[in-house]
């Protein structure tokens, strides 16, 4: 396949960026999107040009490091798929593909397609944990947790922290990310002692980082590579309300 790429290039945080056109030749349908970019980059390097910077690591859809907005969609056109698992067979010969970074106030640009998502880590620092020191744990089977509850908690815990939900949201809200974490712990007995405090603290941290509010657009769910459901947002809202009215934590 032969493709035309329009890629966002931006030297650094304070520089102005723009879309630059590149030709990608000899693209195999079995390549992943990032492998296609690797080939383009090898060509650029040989010509002595600076390669296109983009983040990736595991290249199997689990580390959450890859990003990219491809033809207007975070992680590209295929549902439930991270960019690193998007294969070129999704595109056709002769296509023009526009590649941009995840954009949000709380994800400042680093270079080209790479952005800084450390705001997610700071939200986690505010309450995304169970306070249990090493050595302090009871016997693992002392608390029974139903199969159904464990599976539901696992559904929420599957979030890879990629930020596509934020990039897709017109308000750049991080509600789906926060809701996934709050839900995992709210569902499990281990999460109960800090349940109210956690919901309040993580939401507050989200606001402080400059993420927007949720106005029920559901764009987050559609972009999420791990199929995290918006029902988690409803749960987060309930948790937050519960914390405000009846918590003595």
């Amino acid at each position: 396949m032969k493709l035309t790429l329009k890629v966002w290039r931006q030297k650094g945080h304070n520089d102005k960026g723009s879309l630059v056109e590149y030709q990608a030749k000899d693209v195999s349908p079995d390549m992943s999107f990032l492998e296609m970019l690797d080939v383009v980059n090898e060509g650029l390097i040989k010509k002595g040009e600076d390669a296109i910077a983009f983040d990736s690591d595991c290249r199997e859809g689990i580390c959450g490091m890859c990003s990219l907005v491809i033809n207007g969609k975070p992680h590209g056109p295929e549902l439930g798929t991270a960019t690193c698992q998007l294969h070129m067979r999704t595109f056709s010969d002769g296509d023009t593909i526009v590649v941009e970074p995840f954009r949000a106030r709380a994800f400042p640009p680093v270079k080209d397609l790479a952005v800084d998502r450390s705001s997610f880590d700071r939200i986690m620092q505010a309450g995304g944990y169970v306070s249990v020191n090493t050595g302090n744990a009871p016997e693992a089977n002392a608390n029974l947790i139903s199969h159904h509850t464990a599976e539901k908690a696992m559904d929420a815990a599957a979030c890879i922290g990629c930020g596509a939900c934020v990039a897709a949201c017109p308000n750049a809200s991080a509600m789906l990310f926060v809701a996934a974490k709050v839900s995992q712990y709210a569902l499990l007995p281990q999460g109960q002692p800090e349940r109210a405090k956690r919901a309040m603290a993580m939401r507050e941290a989200m606001d402080d980082e400059g993420f927007g509010n949720c106005s029920n657009e559901y764009a987050c769910e559609a972009a999420c590579p791990k199929d995290i459901k918006v029902e988690n947002i409803a749960r987060l809202n309930r948790e937050h309300l519960r914390a405000m009215i009846c918590s003595d934590e």
């Binding site: 650094g12 580390c63 693992a140 999460g191």
Partner: protein, 639 residues
């Protein structure tokens, strides 16, 4: 000065060693702990668990990782599960059996005392992770589920769908984030450690490059922990993440830390086969699939029929045939070597003939589609994404791929390297798996090292050692910083014709062909020559674009590949010197009449720890003899 390797294994019967040792370790007064700075490099299971636990104890901790967030360390990708001797299924497991299986699985090339301790603390790991809210799979009655894994006849593997590593790492990461929030840990993401700083013979700091600004920075501390993972990417194609590298441990090796058993490499039997030259990585299909999938090839050579049209009696379920008691669950090295044999015999399947079938049709019939979906859904989806074939309908095609490196920095029982104050944890050290690691044991080891071993042993070091206060302005740091800047300038300065990836692919091919699944003296000698030539060419003809002072991923890679060249040579030397076959190290000259690995316990029952003497110079071999007082040395037999 000749170096004497002392494993510091405590006295006493094996069941008592760790308890006795803990009692004898010196403690640091709680009020004093915050006066000590500990540098932790790496945030995988080993690094994140150690950093969080040390901070909980009161130390001042600084943590570094390459990725933009500590949550993205390569441990996140582990799929299948984590072992622990809980014996919940009541099927005869015990600390002793886990110990025994691990020593045997490692083909009797691990230090007994370390392995026993690992088995001993394994149960506490599960307790800790459950308390953190890790959503392990559960039975309908609410208790934890277990499954079995290769190399074991009991079900002792705990799992969270096919995302066990992710969930365990997020547990450790959340503990780490809590400490960052409390101000006890300072987190430095997008940093690459490029130099170890040794002062008065002790590890006192590191020099990093800030990967976004290119700034070279120094950090001083009282102890340094390398938790930097494995070096499988020396083969270019592996199941490892793109940034996995050897640079941190290699640069420590150049400062005097011995590197042990570098040739012990694990080739995982169930990976998605290579599809073309563009390929940047290989994807693992968890070994747990071998619980329900049956491995086979057509009996006839070159049989190109599609799998469903090949009748039962024309299929060779070769693992079940050759190893009736373990069947499809033989250890990884055995499964990989057998796949290679079938393919070398011309029985491989798929377009390239470079794969074997892993077939779920019987399991789907027996358990139903829903059950298989629940157990392996995400793995099947992943396979489907990559190959565009639906494994619910046609058998998966699999081929072995480089997956794990058992070798690493030599450490004593306290996980300290031969440089005082430099500790090494997780996959980066050489310790517990001998010549072959059993499935689901790496996660166990990483967390054992980080949660339950190191927090004790680092305290002992600090309590016993008088360390002057130093900071990054000390002259040794300036020297190291200059060295790092010079190396960067050198890489950018070559301005040759070929990309880093071009060289890396070449190196990988040499390693795979001659230091991979099976090795010969002739092949290894030729590989060493080829690596030396290619390394020289690298420094004359590599082309790195961009600058030193912003995010430059090709520059990062260039430094890592430079270290891989030196490591690759050492791996071949180690493989050449070990004139026996054991575990993942298979020398064609040394095999039993049935083609199994043949050890030579008389002459090679030791850990080979190499001392660096200069690039291209012969390294010096030090031997740590391995004695087996508790497990009877025997030929590994899985028939």
């Amino acid at each position: 000065m000749t170096l004497k390797l002392d494993g510091k294994v405590p006295e006493g019967p094996i069941e008592k060693k760790w308890d006795n040792h803990k009692f004898n370790l010196k403690l640091v007064n709680p009020a004093n702990k915050r006066k000590y700075d500990i540098l932790v490099v790496g945030t995988g299971l080993a690094g994140a668990s150690a950093a969080a636990s040390l901070a909980e104890l009161g130390y001042n901790v600084k943590v570094f990782c390459i990725q933009d967030s500590p949550r993205r360390a390569h441990s996140i990708a582990a799929q299948g599960g984590i072992n622990a001797a809980k014996n919940y299924p009541n099927d005869g497991d015990s600390v002793w059996r886990l110990f025994y299986d691990t020593v045997k699985g490692g083909d009797f090339r691990a230090r007994e005392a370390n392995v026993y301790r690992l088995a001993q603390v394994s149960a506490s790991i599960i307790d800790q992770c459950v308390a953190q809210g890790v959503p392990f799979a559960r039975e309908y009655g609410g208790t934890l589920s277990n499954r079995s894994f290769g190399g074991a006849q009991v079900s002792r593997t705990f799992y969270a769908r096919g995302q066990t590593g992710q969930q365990l790492l997020l547990g450790a990461y959340s503990a780490l984030m809590r400490q960052v929030g409390l101000g006890t840990v300072e987190m430095y993401p997008r940093r690459e450690m490029l130099e170890l700083v040794v002062e008065d013979g002790a590890a006192r700091g590191i020099v990093c490059r800030d990967l976004t600004t290119g700034k070279v920075e120094s950090y001083a501390g009282h102890a340094v922990l390398l938790c930097t993972g494995g070096y499988g990417n020396v083969f270019y194609l592996s199941t490892n993440a793109a940034s996995c590298n050897v640079s941190a441990t290699w640069r420590a090796h150049k400062h005097g830390a011995l590197f042990a058993n570098p040739c012990y490499t694990q080739i995982h039997p169930t990976c998605i086969p290579v599809s073309g030259d563009h390929q940047s990585k290989l994807t693992l299909m968890s070994e747990s699939l071998r619980n329900d999938g049956r491995v086979w090839v057509p009996k006839k050579k070159g049989d190109k029929r599609s799998p469903e049209t090949i009748p039962e009696d024309e299929r060779d379920y070769y693992l079940e045939r050759k190893y009736p008691s373990f069947g499809n669950l033989v250890p990884r090295d055995v499964a990989s070597r057998n796949a290679k044999q079938m393919i070398d015999d011309g029985k491989g399947v798929g377009e390239t003939g470079l794969s074997v079938y892993l077939d779920f049709s019987d399991a789907i019939k027996r358990l139903g589609l829903d059950k298989i979906k629940e157990k392996y859904g995400n793995l099947f989806d992943m396979y489907h994404h990559i190959t565009a074939e639906d494994p619910y309908k046609v058998p998966m095609r699999i081929y072995p791929a480089v997956h794990y490196t058992m070798g690493g920095l030599w450490v004593d029982y306290n996980l300290m390297t031969t440089i005082p104050g430099l500790f090494c944890l997780g996959e980066a050290n050489f310790s517990d798996h001998g010549a072959n690691r059993l499935g689901a044991s790496a996660l166990m080891q990483g967390l054992s090292d980080g949660y339950f071993v190191l927090p004790y042993t680092v305290g002992d070091y600090i309590a016993r050692t008088k360390l002057e206060k130093i900071d990054g302005s000390h002259s040794e740091f300036a020297r190291s910083e200059a060295g790092v800047a010079e190396l960067t300038a050198r890489l950018l300065g070559v301005q040759g014709h070929r990309t880093v990836d071009w060289f890396h692919r070449r190196l990988g091919k040499i390693m795979w062909d001659d230091c991979g699944m099976s090795r010969t003296a002739v092949g290894l000698e030729s590989a060493i020559g080829q690596i030396r030539e290619l390394r020289e060419e690298y420094w004359k003809d590599v082309k790195v674009a961009g600058s030193a002072d912003d995010l430059n991923q090709s520059l990062e890679k260039a430094g890592r590949v430079a270290d891989f060249f030196e490591l690759g040579e050492l791996m071949c030397l180690d493989a050449l010197h070990r004139k026996e076959s054991c575990g993942g190290h298979f020398r064609e000259e040394y095999q039993t009449p049935d083609g199994e690995a043949k050890r030579d316990d008389q002459n090679y029952s030791y850990a080979a720890a190499w001392e660096f003497k200069g690039v291209g110079k012969e390294p010096e071999l030090h031997k740590e003899p391995l004695t087996f007082e508790n497990v009877h040395l025997a030929e590994r037999n899985y028939a």
